[in-house]
Subunit: 184 residues, 2 copies
DNA sequence: GCGAATGGAGAACGTACGTTCTCCTTGGTG
DNA sequence: CACCAAGGAGAACGTACGTTCTCCATTCGC
């Protein structure tokens, strides 16, 4: 018998690919069933509703996205270099073929007004990202005000890269961050 | 007899309020009919499908949004002050009670993958915004690279203000823009 | 005043989808 | 072997919605 954990992973993998690539409302439960190779009955045993699957998708993506960023940045020396590494990581991400912007921004724009859980997931993700940048800014001995400025550059780069289809915004953001670091 | 122009305006007013406030897919044609006080038959005479109404909504919003920005900024002296006025305008916008981020980013996240017209509208809006900032940067005699950096600050501020529910990101972006202007 | 076109209210139609149910297979247990 | 719990395939059910159609009132040209 296949364990519930295996089913959960298979469903979340399919849900993430589909929700992120096409949007939340554009993907039906039956499409996720087909993509995950799981029966509808089993799917609903593990996720009691589409809403709960959406929230699980957002929760896992938040964990993984931040872990990947922190793993990458952590390989660079603490201080200014580690801050700039954040933008190098974004630059890599923007070049992935299925990159389509921030999953949380997209979900918020689509369902944030009607589903408080989606709005809360987006807020919590952005808060956590800001918190991580704050530790990098503190580690570089830079002024606190820099944290919010870096957040805006990263956020702007993600959205602009998604809509323009180019990874270049990461480089512009990196250069702006370098300049702000130099005067802070 | 009510003219087609009047109907068009009434429908677009209702569509803008509803699409922007709740999302494109969350609002049905019948809700727009009820909110605009127009019959379904008349509605479909003026807009042949929901898709065409969505595109008309995005098109009019692009025109109006940029006109309002340029009107506001144009009241400030050309040069650095006019660039900073862009962020003052954003700060005002973020405080409007129904502010919910960038209509084009939200629409792109929701339908950009499936509807090329929506993705094109978002690209065109962002290109036009960048073009306007480029004229301000040139008018201030600042380096060209500043344009893309200002785009990222504004874009990041819009998204961050939407998700956090606070107008503060406009002030952080303004301060970052001031710093970048000073060293450029 | 009269016929015809216009438009309003809302029913109707087709489709999609979230969720549940039915029926059948299968694999483990006494 | 007999039995039963678990699971798969897919039908079924209820609802929502984009779009069109029906029926009736109003109005405009003559």
């Amino acid at each position: 018998m296949e364990t519930a954990e295996t089913v959960e992973v298979r469903v979340l993998d399919a849900a993430e690919r589909l929700f992120y690539g096409r949007g939340l409302q554009a993907v039906g439960m039956d499409t996720i069933r087909a993509a995950s190779g799981v029966s509808l009955k089993r799917l609903y045993q593990v996720f009691s509703s589409k809403d709960s699957l959406v929230e699980a998708y957002l929760h896992r993506r938040d964990r993984r996205w931040r872990a990947a960023l922190e793993r990458f940045a952590g390989q660079h020396p603490a201080g200014r270099e580690r801050i700039l590494a954040v933008f190098d990581w974004l630059h890599q991400w923007f070049q992935e073929p299925d990159f389509r912007g921030c999953a949380f921004v997209n979900s918020y724009g689509e369902l944030g007004a009607a589903h408080p859980g989606v709005a809360a997931a987006a807020r919590s993700h952005k808060d956590a990202f800001r918190g991580y940048l704050a530790t990098l800014v503190a580690g570089a001995g830079a002024a606190d005000v820099l944290t919010d400025q870096l957040v805006l550059l990263a956020e702007g780069a993600i959205t602009t890269a998604a809509i323009s289809g180019s990874p270049e915004p990461a480089l512009h953001a990196r250069e702006a961050a370098r300049a702000l670091l130099a005067v802070s």
